[in-house]
């Protein structure tokens, strides 16, 4: 679905004539699919919304302290203990209960490492602690994608140009059709199959998607840059692969296979889980994709609005939120990507109230419901559009 945002005229707050003029401009959703009719805000309202969101951010920033630091250190320490326990149990993996327990613990550890720790540390959420051991500039995670490339494609491209088709490469990861804005090709008949494979090999998909190889064709990126990146990612891939599929199994001696299978399963579980959570963050019904034209002259308030309209939350309890890396608060995360993840649950009710007040959708649902919607969308978009409507630009 596409909507238009208020015109990209930034009104000078003090200039009354300009404000009055822009106040007449209204948002007109383009009714391609069920549209958020509610998004009928004046430019002034959008900026006011931005100011109120800034206030929430400032308040959390001012209250960061020892409790937050203790939180992330506790999560990191728990994760490492789980990993040790999981790998230790897998050495006894010839016994089915030990294999199951070991694989479960290792899967949980890998999910925590990827989502609540790695993703959030690399966002700079904990940089304020000035601890070089927990810092976005030094962190490396237990994934084949290397942190440096990922920070560029995720922190910069995805979070700045969220859901902008053609800019945000998380829209389809270069292989899927996830928006009507992507024109259909027969290749996309395989959409559901590609998605299934991406889900199984998600960490490899993310690593390759960081390469942005299609930018070489368009001249935005040099072949040398890609080659340098491939060498970096290649080193990372080799180390990761060696650890889980050679060194640990070899250490187990005669129990090589159970350890290998446990490690592979844990990586698979982490891939499927993170893929599901991440896809539910931006593609369930109610989330909005945008065009590059809508970015032009975007104000702070409009950026906030795009983040809210382009993201969706997941309902669940504290443990569920932890296992999603608090990406179950995808809306709050996209508004404030650098706030400590443990604070998203605290500000979520306020953000939700703001949405209600401004008549904006606050998309949320259970993981099952949302994932089903995403899968349906992937199936639907595999087929060519039934009737072509001219694309409207705001």
């Amino acid at each position: 679905m596409t909507i238009t945002l208020p015109d990209r005229v930034t009104p000078a707050p003090t200039d009354k004539t300009t404000s009055n003029k822009t106040a007449e401009r209204r948002v007109h959703p383009v009714p391609s699919t069920p549209a958020p009719e509610a998004c009928d805000l004046t430019a002034a309202q959008v900026e006011e919304l931005g100011r109120r969101l800034d206030e929430i951010r400032d308040r959390v920033i001012a209250s960061r302290g020892a409790d937050d630091a203790a939180y992330i250190r506790r999560v990191i320490s728990t994760q490492r203990k789980l990993e040790i326990a999981g790998r230790a149990l897998l050495f006894a993996g010839i016994l089915p209960p030990a294999w199951l327990a070991g694989t479960t613990l290792l899967s949980i550890a890998k999910i925590l490492e990827n989502m609540e720790i790695g993703h959030n540390v690399l966002h700079g959420q904990w940089d304020w602690m000035r601890d070089p051991k927990i810092h976005s500039s030094t962190w490396e995670w237990d994934l084949v994608s290397d942190a440096k490339s990922w920070k560029h494609s995720h922190n910069y491209m995805h979070h700045t140009y969220t859901n902008v088709v053609g800019k945000d490469r998380d829209v389809g990861y270069g292989i899927l059709r996830l928006s009507e804005e992507q024109s259909w090709r027969p290749y996309y008949l395989g959409n559901p199959v590609y998605n299934f494979l991406l889900s199984l090999f998600f960490q490899w998909g993310v690593a390759l998607h960081d390469l942005e190889v299609e930018k070489v064709a368009s001249g935005e990126k040099s072949k040398a840059d890609v080659w340098r990146q491939i060498k970096g990612i290649g080193r990372k891939m080799r180390r990761q692969f060696t650890k889980d599929y050679l060194v640990f199994p070899a250490l187990a001696g005669p129990f090589f296979l159970p350890v290998l299978a446990g490690n592979a399963t844990a990586n698979l579980v982490r891939n499927i889980w993170s893929h599901a959570v991440i896809f539910c963050g931006h593609f369930p019904d109610g989330t909005v994709q945008f065009t590059e034209e809508q970015l032009e002259g975007e104000t702070r308030g409009q950026w906030y609005l795009r983040q809210m309209l382009g993201s969706a939350n997941l309902d669940g309890g504290p443990l569920f939120h932890l296992m999603t890396g608090n990406l179950s608060f995808q809306i709050e995360h996209h508004l404030f990507p650098d706030l400590p993840s443990n604070r998203y649950s605290e500000i979520a009710p306020e953000v939700r109230e703001l949405c209600a007040e401004y008549g904006l959708p606050y998309t949320t649902g259970s993981l099952g419901t949302q994932y089903l919607q995403v899968l349906k969308k992937i199936n639907r978009l595999a087929l060519p559009p039934k009737h072509v409507t001219p694309r409207q630009i705001g």
Partner: protein, 360 residues
């Protein structure tokens, strides 16, 4: 600095093998779950004893981890401590003797008015606290060869490095001929009061003159001619507030080689306000006005800088701050300590500052 590592050591083959199990982390990241002092990349210590010296000063005995190579009496150590979740680094003189039997290092910290770190270390760092350390450093040390008579002039917490010297000398035998002129506001605020008096009693060669400045006024170095008439023949060690050090430099102008001072210059702080001269790497400073980000200003000056979202969210533009402070253009907050990584796209100038630039 922000990213400090202990002196690099060659990883053993065993360690290299262990890394293949823990990649992308290091074995020590797991070992430190049990023993935080076991680290080859970060020198740390654990507070094992907290001894109040005065109402404001506390001695911390710290067991250092791997990589601590000891100190020479008079040297200082940089200590990193987490206060309300945020790491701060400060420099303190080591107050313990060289080569102590227990292998621990000691610092004596006097809480400064409004001192976030000194107040925390003096009053809120219980036994068990883990601190970050750096190797000892500084050239305010006794001459390595046996020297002639000594004169020590200290004030307030300036006694701490001199205390390390006295303890080191006393452990070797009778103290040499030395005069210590120490000033503190009142008797109750004299750090190591009892120990100083005991040393003076045990060692007839050492003369101690305590001065309580609240009642007796500050020491005027002109008084040296009466307090220590042979001061010109002595190797002099002076540690205290800037005013005392400046006066000493003037007093010893004719024989500066005889004078040793320990001068702790606090990192330059911004006087507030916006705009200022900012240096990028080794290039000449650029005048940055109050509304311009350090990223834009650097780019305008032709410096190659990393950048990303340009709105403060992606952390793709961070550069290490070397000197001065910066102003958050979003909130107006002036912040920064040397070594902090600052987001150049949302930081403006607030007085003079210097940023490191990427070498590639």
């Amino acid at each position: 600095m922000f990213f400090r590592v202990a002196s690099p050591r060659r990883p053993s083959r065993l360690l290299a093998a262990a890394v293949s199990l823990t990649t992308p982390l290091l074995p020590e990241d797991f070992v430190s779950l049990v023993d935080p002092l076991w680290s080859t990349t970060a020198l740390r210590g654990r507070v094992v004893e907290v001894r109040p010296e005065t109402a404001r000063a506390t001695t911390l005995r710290i067991r250092p981890g791997r990589g601590w190579t000891g100190h020479r009496a008079g040297q200082y150590v940089r200590i990193g401590v987490d206060v309300n979740g945020v790491r701060h680094w400060r420099t303190y003189s080591l107050s313990g003797p060289e080569s102590p039997a227990d292998g621990c290092l000691t610092v004596t910290v006097q809480a400064q008015p409004d001192g976030v770190v000194s107040g925390h270390l003096a009053h809120s760092a219980p036994v068990g606290t883990i601190v970050q350390l750096e190797p000892a450093d500084g050239d305010f040390v006794l001459p390595s060869t046996a020297s002639g008579p000594l004169l020590m002039i200290t004030a307030g917490s300036g006694i701490t490095p001199v205390m390390a010297m006295l303890r080191t000398l006393a452990a070797l035998g009778p103290l040499p001929d030395l005069v210590l002129l120490h000033s503190a506001p009142t008797a109750a605020e004299v750090i190591f009061n009892d120990e100083l008096r005991a040393l003076a009693e045990q060692h007839p060669s050492a003369r101690l003159a305590l001065r309580h400045t609240t009642t007796e006024g500050r020491l005027d170095l002109a008084e040296l001619d009466t307090l220590c008439p042979d001061w010109r023949e002595r190797e002099a060690f002076v540690c205290g507030p800037t005013g005392l050090l400046d006066a000493a430099a003037r007093h010893w102008a004719s024989q500066p080689d005889r004078l040793h001072v320990e001068r702790f210059t606090p990192p330059p702080r911004s006087a507030g306000g916006s705009g200022g001269a900012v240096s990028y790497g080794s290039a000449d400073p650029v005048e940055v006005d109050g509304g311009t980000s350090l990223l834009e200003a650097g780019e305008a000056a032709g410096v190659l800088l990393p950048s990303g979202c340009r709105m403060g969210i992606c952390f793709g533009c961070v550069l290490p701050l070397r000197e001065g402070q910066v102003r958050d253009l979003r909130t107006g907050e002036v912040h920064g300590e040397p070594g902090d990584l600052v987001q150049t796209c949302i930081s403006g100038a607030s007085g003079a500052a210097r940023l490191d630039t990427p070498t590639t």
